[in-house]
């Protein structure tokens, strides 16, 4: 969703053709490693937004070369962009797969939670090591914005590691509690519901 608004923003900066837009997006986000947008996604978004009247397109021919489509922002597109920038940003709800795995392991006994925690902790530390190395290789004098983005990745990984420590510390307590079970299904009609006429006893 936010990619389409980012494209509007990059067009507010200057008109661009599709390839330039994708390259500009990659530059602003700090590289493919942070957010990879496929060309098909960019062009599909541009078409939809053109249909919605948010962007305009014109063909530009180069002498001896193929025609290129250059995109620009309309007044409606500028208004849409502004509304997005000024609105609160909601975080997409996260479904934590590790939590799910842990509950299934506890329910089935098919894996040892402590072994799973070890595997997860190893993976998180390796990711943290890799992100830290990237952060150190990014020059804060020229790319401070990207350093801040990598800081966010570091903080999330630290929080995940802290959470793993908490789970490990309380695992025995969790085990002593009964596993969550679905509520029993209620049979019969809900209270206050009318009995259908064909089965009502009228006589």
């Amino acid at each position: 969703m936010s990619v389409r608004y980012a494209l509007l923003g990059l067009l507010a900066q200057q008109p661009r053709h599709g390839y330039e837009l994708r390259a500009a997006f990659e530059a602003v986000i700090g590289g493919k490693a942070n957010w990879d947008v496929r060309p098909a996604q960019v062009y599909a978004s541009l078409e939809r937004q053109a249909e919605a009247g948010l962007i305009r397109q014109r063909s530009v021919g180069k002498a001896g070369g193929p025609e290129k489509r250059v995109y620009g922002l309309t007044a409606a597109g500028r208004k849409e962009l502004q509304a997005w920038l000024e609105a609160e940003t909601e975080r997409a709800p996260e479904h934590d797969e590790f939590f799910l795995k842990l509950m299934i392991a506890l329910a089935t006994g098919a894996a040892q939670p402590r072994d799973m925690i070890h595997v997860q902790r190893t993976a998180l530390y390796r990711r943290l090591h890799a992100v830290t190395a990237r952060r150190q290789a990014t020059d804060p004098k020229t790319s401070l914005a990207h350093v801040l983005l990598l800081d966010q990745a570091v903080m999330h990984l630290e929080a995940d590691l802290h959470w793993l420590d908490m789970i490990e510390a309380r695992l025995d307590e969790v085990r002593r509690q009964p596993l969550p079970r679905p509520a029993p299904r209620r049979r019969g009609r809900p209270p206050g519901a009318e009995v259908p006429s064909q089965i009502r006893d009228d006589g």
Binding site: R121, Y125, L128, H129, V131, T132, L161, D165
Partner: protein, 247 residues
Amino acid sequence: MPAVVTENLTKIYGAADASVTALDHVSLAVEPGEFVAVMGPSGCGKSTLLHLIGGLDRPTAGRVLLDGHDLSTLDDEAMSVLRRRNIGFVFQFYNLIPVLNAQENAALPLLLDGIPAERARSAATQWLERFELGGRQLHRPDQLSGGQQQRVAIARALVAEPTLILADEPTGNLDSQAADQIAALLGRVSREWGRTVLIVTHDPRIAAQADRIVFLKDGHVVDQTILERRDEGNIEIVADAMKRLTT
């Protein structure tokens, strides 16, 4: 030859019913130039491990070998000399002398070893300049930020050109930004200046700089994680350790 070896290292405090086993048959090896982070919950024995490796305390059982030398064969004076020349210590609360300036603090290990003052100060200046403190050499600790004080402490740890750096929660008393800088600096101590670095820490940012993380719990090694394979020796050490853990 590994830079550090511990063999069945055990430390028990107290006696009889009131005894506490802080470290229980811990065996590990650290290769020259390796950066190892030791992590674990409070009370797991990690600081005890560091103190035994640094010769600041004696084990109840087992032994420590530094560059092949068994610490148990050294008397107090020989141990003191080894600590001064071969090991650099970095602590959580910097432990700088308030009345000395940064240069004097950093030069202290050399001065205590009888090195002429001019040579000692020159060596200290070199390290302080590497740590971007060249312009603050004449500042006393109370005129420096926490991060700057810790950098002076690390310069002091390196001034005698030891091969081994031991650090106990070096970022524990620092704000987030200073902690990041110290973590990166300690990474350089290993990668750029080739020292063996062993750090006890709660801080994942420090651990992220390491080649390997050793996890302690209740005085035992319970896990090891390799973050970066710098040479074959790294893999062998972990394989041996995991074998011991499972037998």
